[in-house]
Amino acid sequence: MSNCCKQPALGIDRRTALKGLATGVAALALPASNASASVWEAFFQKHFRELSKDELKQVLARLTKEYSQEFGKEVSVKATPAIEGVTYGYGLDLSRCIGCRRCVYGCVAENNQSRDPQIHWIRVLQLEQEKGTALEYAEHYYNPQTVPEEGHFYMPVQCQQCSNPPCTKVCPVQATWPEKDGIVVVDYNWCIGCRYCMAACPYGARHFNWGKANVPADELNPDTHYLGNRPRPIGVVEKCTFCIQRTREQPGRYPACEEICPVGARKFGNLNDPESEMRYLIENKRVFILKEELNTQPKFFYFYAT
């Protein structure tokens, strides 16, 4: 009898033994009270881009059920893919913005950011007209009786959806990437919370969940996207997604910040469509991009219409 064909003494092969071992260890690691099927599934879930159609369907169904139970109302989780031939672009008219922060809170409501600890995806900078866009003089805690204040102008900053994003390159687990339509997204289930991306982003556009996202159930926006505004777990990084849950629909709604702006300073459209307002403003207005010298190639364009 040769060695190779010898059966193990206990009558189980190596594979079965390993499987049993893994199961045992995992069972130890998971608290028994929570050890439901959904925790198991979440633990072994693949990277978003490696999920097959069926697996994605299961993941979405699982999350839908989880969130609906947690918030006591019907929450939908979708994973609408990019629309073919579309590259999103955003325009912001600095000659119009008055710094009223309506966009900041419109975004919080639409995208289910944590209320406390507080996360804002949009930061409105107050700048001095005499100093121009010199960011070292920027102030974002301004709180006068009324805006705009004499001698100042306002520059909201959010994710610039770079075509050459430094944040995705530093991610050690590839939990963040630019999608085909130009939106930079995060797979919250894959993110390990190392915050390298936050250090890499020159715009301060990424935010960390120090606690589990704290959103009152009655204020939760139930129309959610896997890569966008679904409730975030503790310890992951999040960012603006151009309202992926709205803009990828057919027909696509405008981002929440665009819709709420009381002075019409915000513009949004398809950069590939020569008839879009984005193309018009880039071709006809004075346009600049923030920190151009870093070669991040933003798809967020600041402009002066007047």
Binding site: I83, V86, D93, I98, G99, C100, R101, R102, V104, Y105, D116, P117, Q118, H120, R123, H140, Y141, Y142, N143, P144, Q145, T146, V147, P148, W210, G211, T247, Q250, P251, G252, R253, Y254, E259, C261, P262, V263, G264, K267, F268, G269, N270, S276, E277, Y280, L281, K285, A305, T306
Partner: protein
């Protein structure tokens, strides 16, 4: 002999005319259009008849209309003819005492008065400088008479705001939805609260 010579002259001049016609055709056509280096058409010269025609509003292409929501009338104020239908028109510049006392004209008030925009003969419509009357939901044409640059930007969705879908149906907000036509400058407003400073967080 004499006859022959005459015939030759006739033939010659005829040939010349034909030649001129053939030559002049394409030359003239090329004169009417101007292209830049990349081949893009810059100017197309109009035929003389078009240039000589006297200016008439009727010769213009009709202004495009844009889908807009209902104009933002104060409650119960429209139709204006409910009151003004029977009233005599008073074009005098004066302080209004009985009605519309809330309206303070702060919009180049030195150069205009009510009836420069509101039509004296039928108050339910507005009146352009040309005399053409337009309904209130086309008031952008009235504003566009002076604010041509803003009107141009508004039409392509840069000035002001369009609602609806970025890749679908859109509605334009009228100028009057954001600007009070009698006092159009934007009013300062209270900002929403600033973000919590890191030191102030309760965690």
């Amino acid at each position: 002999m004499k006859r022959n010579r005459r015939l030759t002259a006739l033939l010659g001049s005829g040939l010349l005319a034909v030649l001129l016609l053939v030559l002049s055709g394409p030359v003239q056509a090329a004169k009417e259009k101007y292209f830049d280096r990349s081949g893009r058409l810059i100017v197309e010269e109009k035929p003389a008849a078009d240039l000589l025609r006297p200016y008439q509003a009727g010769n213009r292409e009709p202004e495009k209309t844009f889908p807009v929501p209902a104009p933002p009338f104060s409650e119960g104020i429209y139709p204006c003819s409910d009151c003004h239908g029977e009233m005599e028109t008073n074009p005098q510049r004066r302080e209004l005492e009985d009605m519309h006392t809330d309206i303070v004209l702060n919009h180049a008030e030195g150069q205009r008065w009510c009836l420069d925009c509101h039509n004296p003969d039928d108050r339910d419509v507005l009146r352009l400088v040309s005399g053409e009357t337009i309904p209130f939901d086309q008031s952008y044409r009235l504003c566009g008479q002076c604010h041509g640059d803003k009107f141009r930007d508004w039409k392509v969705g840069i000035h002001g705001k369009r609602t609806g879908y970025w890749n679908g149906d859109k509605q334009y907000l009228l100028c009057a939805h954001c600007h009070n036509p009698h006092d159009p400058a934007f009013k300062a407003m209270k900002p929403l609260p600033p973000p919590v400073r890191p030191g102030e967080a309760r965690h």
